[in-house]
Subunit: 321 residues, 3 copies
Amino acid sequence: MDLFGMLYLDELSHGLANLSMFPYFDMAHYIVSVMALREQPGALDVSRVSPLACWFSSMLYCFGGAVLSGIMLAEPPVAPLSNGTSVLLASIIWYLIFYCPMDVVYSCTALLPLRLVLSGMKEVTRTWKVLGGVTLAQKKYKDSLLVMIAIGWARGAGGGLISNFEQLVRGVWKPETNELLKMSYPTKVTLMGAVLFSLQQTHYLPLQKHHLMLFYTIFIVVNKTRMMLTGSSSSPFAPIESALYKALFTGYSPYAALTGELHKAGTDNSITNRTACCGTTKESKENRSSGQNHSSSPGGGVESSPKAKEASEAEDSKKIN
Amino acid sequence: MDLFGMLYLDELSHGLANLSMFPYFDMAHYIVSVMALREQPGALDVSRVSPLACWFSSMLYCFGGAVLSGIMLAEPPVAPLSNGTSVLLASIIWYLIFYCPMDVVYSCTALLPLRLVLSGMKEVTRTWKVLGGVTLAQKKYKDSLLVMIAIGWARGAGGGLISNFEQLVRGVWKPETNELLKMSYPTKVTLMGAVLFSLQQTHYLPLQKHHLMLFYTIFIVVNKTRMMLTGSSSSPFAPIESALYKALFTGYSPYAALTGELHKAGTDNSITNRTACCGTTKESKENRSSGQNHSSSPGGGVESSPKAKEASEAEDSKKIN
Amino acid sequence: MDLFGMLYLDELSHGLANLSMFPYFDMAHYIVSVMALREQPGALDVSRVSPLACWFSSMLYCFGGAVLSGIMLAEPPVAPLSNGTSVLLASIIWYLIFYCPMDVVYSCTALLPLRLVLSGMKEVTRTWKVLGGVTLAQKKYKDSLLVMIAIGWARGAGGGLISNFEQLVRGVWKPETNELLKMSYPTKVTLMGAVLFSLQQTHYLPLQKHHLMLFYTIFIVVNKTRMMLTGSSSSPFAPIESALYKALFTGYSPYAALTGELHKAGTDNSITNRTACCGTTKESKENRSSGQNHSSSPGGGVESSPKAKEASEAEDSKKIN
């Protein structure tokens, strides 16, 4: 029985691994990406003022991962443009979503059931992109785990990682926030995927490639669906993250007592540690500043910059991917 | 008679195609570029405070196209520096225009007749740069029209396209505006040239290369001269642009009625469609916001960002190229 | 006697040239770099909010030169990550300095005697990095002096030159200042080193490589130690810079009288010419604006931007390297 189950899973994972992304899954990725752009504040204004900037922004949403990993590997960032069919497909979808008469296309795709299916399909492409990045990096840098993780991550979550510069195309500049300072769920799950696939490719993870593809794909699709249905933005990693953070990054510094306390509050409300750090009451902020006074060292003035605080407090920005 | 005319044109275009840009036309390009930098607000201050930042900025004005197309094709952006003669020439011109005793050089070159000749010569180099970019891209990406257009455009209008980062060198940061959001005339005419030369090189445009070079060069030189003499900044493409925009980018969305109306107003005043979009009266802006209320979709909050508005309203910046 | 001195120096310089940077000097470089990051305003906050952004920032401090010179030569900017041992070493040091229990490591390294030794060792790595950049550039671009200087400079002072983008990782954006507008001492001394080593490599400077290495290393170590002990930030080049500036960049323009006067004031106070330009009294600023009114030319409005002034006045930022 167990063997049968294994065999069945094996067949399923082989089937999945041989799935072609090209027409349908890629289309779903383009549709969901362009819709995410359209829902950014100010994006509709830009689409009326300058269709070219809007198109370029859309292409960065659709091909951001390829552009970023290209730059990181010193390959032409213009290369995605050379794949005429993909660019044509993405451009048609961009046109239909932004400028379709009666706004028919956007109205349809924004319906929850269709959106759910499309988002699920988009998540499937993530597996392929992360794996593509990892194997590409492995060809150039044999067994360099860090490079493999970096390229896999960049390829899978590129749109989010370059969001500062994508926004600049639309005339928006928000330096106080970026995906490294405050990771969104897609960026986190892509990083996890990049780590897993890199470990698998270097044989540190004793798992077949197609099995890992199946497990990872099911995990991200189920999670995305759950998050869309419940409307919750809580990450499934919150407890692990919180534990890791507590174990590694608090030390016994003048900060420690404070951040520990903050964390307890954070996990109680089941929000990620990062949000927890931001959710400081005025009182605890005063504690923190008084704590800093203790830590003033001869070498340099340790002051809290108002900008960094702004950064940790800015929570309004909707994330790409 | 017609044949003779053709033959004569043929000779002329062959002569033009064999023209060497090197000493004189390149010099004109450097002079006009460095003068454009000097006339940027704050540039003279920077030239006194940090000659090095001023020199680097000048080099980006002079070689911006080569740098940008280099980055896009993953070729060393430092390569233009390796052409010692060109850099030396550009540096001498930079020095004379910014620091010449008695300001003799700038005073002379700023005289209208000389400036007219120099600007005309600079426009001639545009043809060569666009064609150079297109053929370079064709070598790497055979028949990929989009890459050829992108590289030709980047090489011809590079200084303008990277202006945000060029300004950063001088300590100026204007994220709310860029050449994609609000194209200046040189950027537009270069894009048109890149499209034409790419079509010619892939044989979609049944025209000889040297004929196209002649026609395009005459067009840009005549236009530049006309614009400098009349002081008008109206683009010769305004009617075509407006028609294209109306046909393609208005759709029947809640915006359509409004943008159509705006456009009529825009073309009446013979300003480009982009300016038209910005020249909204307070009343029409209220219309627009009420229009947006209609288009509020279930998927995401469509709000107009104040930044994007700022972007479309900012009209003070003088453009490079 | 003189011969003996020469021989002795020769041996010493050979010994120095064969010194391996790897474990100890590299470690000192990482420690001093990460400490410099920790002492940036707001950096400690970032280290609590997002350890990943903090780690990435630290890596840019440690490997910024390799990343920047990689980008400039179209080599993968991700390459430094492929050197696992160095990244591991730098990461351990990052972890100990930011998160060590009781803050033991930072408290120790911040003690003046230890810090003095570490800073001296870090300066030694500068020689190796500059020379590495120059020889790397020479392999690709034979005899192109400018490229060699640029790459040598980028490799030696990379962290400082990309500081705007490093700050962006931490959510800080200060466009009004950069290392080109207002060079810090490490950036200046690295530029000087890049010029010297480039001249030596192209045989314009009649000196043996290992002799130059010895002299340059001694110069930067002694200078750094002197600056740390006296707490002075005055550059040893101030008089030369001031003389060069006066000779080359003042011309007889409407500005000249003014800047000359400013300079005298500047050198009297034994501060660099750049500071001098900024240290204008209100009165001289009025002079300057009235001077500008004279220079108003037909070609363009020469206005002083408030941003550029801000830039020259901003002096609070602590510099990298």
